[in-house]
């Protein structure tokens, strides 16, 4: 059944919204390729990106239950999604407990990631915050086979990165220069390479526990 669902992919163009704030669509979107993001636009035009969504991430699973979107989901870079009808999600959660548990796991992991981003934003210096995001993306993308041992496609702009970290593009530029100068990263041709993964993880005190990648010993799985 899941295989059938994943056959119906559609391409979302760069700078297109997958779903906008206030909408209540009939489909849930699953990212298959590329990057999408959760974001909120303020009345003065400022934007905060609250999550980066990579292949395997549900964009809007909760919309099957909640009334309407309280934020927007879009892609500044283009991505491929699958639309899963809300009725199918309801059927899966009602009649397939293992899948329901996996969807629950996905939601809890999203929350864990959001908590870590909050810690990053509130307590980590901008250079460590950025390093932490790079370590997180490497691990998440490796999990779904979209990164090699030390690099991944990273199509976003410095301005997108600034809106993700909640710092100015000037600070992003300075921090990138600093991380490059320390031989920690190379970001070229839309590909981010981490030159020494263990050193970068140590630099930003990265602990992937919030991604909940290990299964419980009782055999419950995330799939």
């Amino acid at each position: 059944m899941l295989h059938d669902l994943c056959g119906r992919t559609h391409q979302v163009s760069a700078n297109e919204d997958i779903i906008g704030e206030g909408e209540r669509p009939e489909n849930v979107h699953l990212v298959m390729e590329g990057f999408a993001c959760r974001y909120k636009l303020l009345s003065d035009g400022k934007r905060q990106i609250m999550a980066l969504l990579v292949p395997g991430d549900f964009c809007d699973l909760h919309i099957a239950i909640l009334g309407e979107m309280d934020h927007s989901i879009g892609t500044g870079w283009g991505c491929t999604c699958v639309k899963i009808p809300r009725a199918t999600i309801n059927d899966l959660t009602t009649n397939h407990p293992r899948i329901a548990r996996a969807l629950w796991w996905a939601t809890l992991t999203d929350e864990g990631t959001l908590r870590e981003w909050l810690v990053n934003m509130g307590q980590r210096r901008a250079d460590k915050q950025m390093a932490h995001l790079f370590c997180e993306l490497l691990v998440r993308l490796q999990t779904v086979g979209c990164a090699d041992e030390d690099s991944f496609e990273f199509p976003i702009s410095q301005s997108d990165l600034a809106d993700t970290l909640g710092v100015t593009p000037v600070h992003v530029n300075r921090v990138l220069q600093e991380l490059r100068a320390q031989n920690l990263i190379v970001w070229r041709s839309k590909r981010l390479q981490i030159l020494n993964v263990e050193r970068l993880k140590a630099f930003c005190d990265f602990n992937p526990n919030y991604l909940h990648l290990t299964r419980r010993a009782n055999g419950d799985s995330s799939e």
Binding site: K46, G166, T168, V170, N173, R174, Q177, E178
Partner: protein, 80 residues
């Protein structure tokens, strides 16, 4: 305009070292830094490195020149 400027060198951890302290009535209210060539399209513009008493902004604005920066700081001090 009641603001006074004083050139200063700022250690920002980058090539952006040319700065101006901005005073109002003898009190420091902002630190502006001129963006270096590292910033390409924004090189030469003035970045609000720090501001006080209303002349701060979480998103640290960038200004085309010192006049624009001072106008913004003055507006903030005036409570606008």
């Amino acid at each position: 305009m009641s603001l006074q400027l004083q050139p200063v060198r700022v250690k920002t951890g980058s090539h952006d070292t040319e700065g101006q302290l901005v005073f109002t009535d003898g009190l420091l209210v902002a630190v502006l830094v001129r963006l270096s060539e590292d910033h390409e399209g924004k090189a030469g513009m003035w970045f609000l490195e720090a501001g006080f008493d209303g002349a701060e902004e979480r998103t640290h604005p960038t200004f085309a020149d010192l006049d624009a920066a001072q106008e913004w700081i003055q507006r903030r001090l005036d409570g606008c």
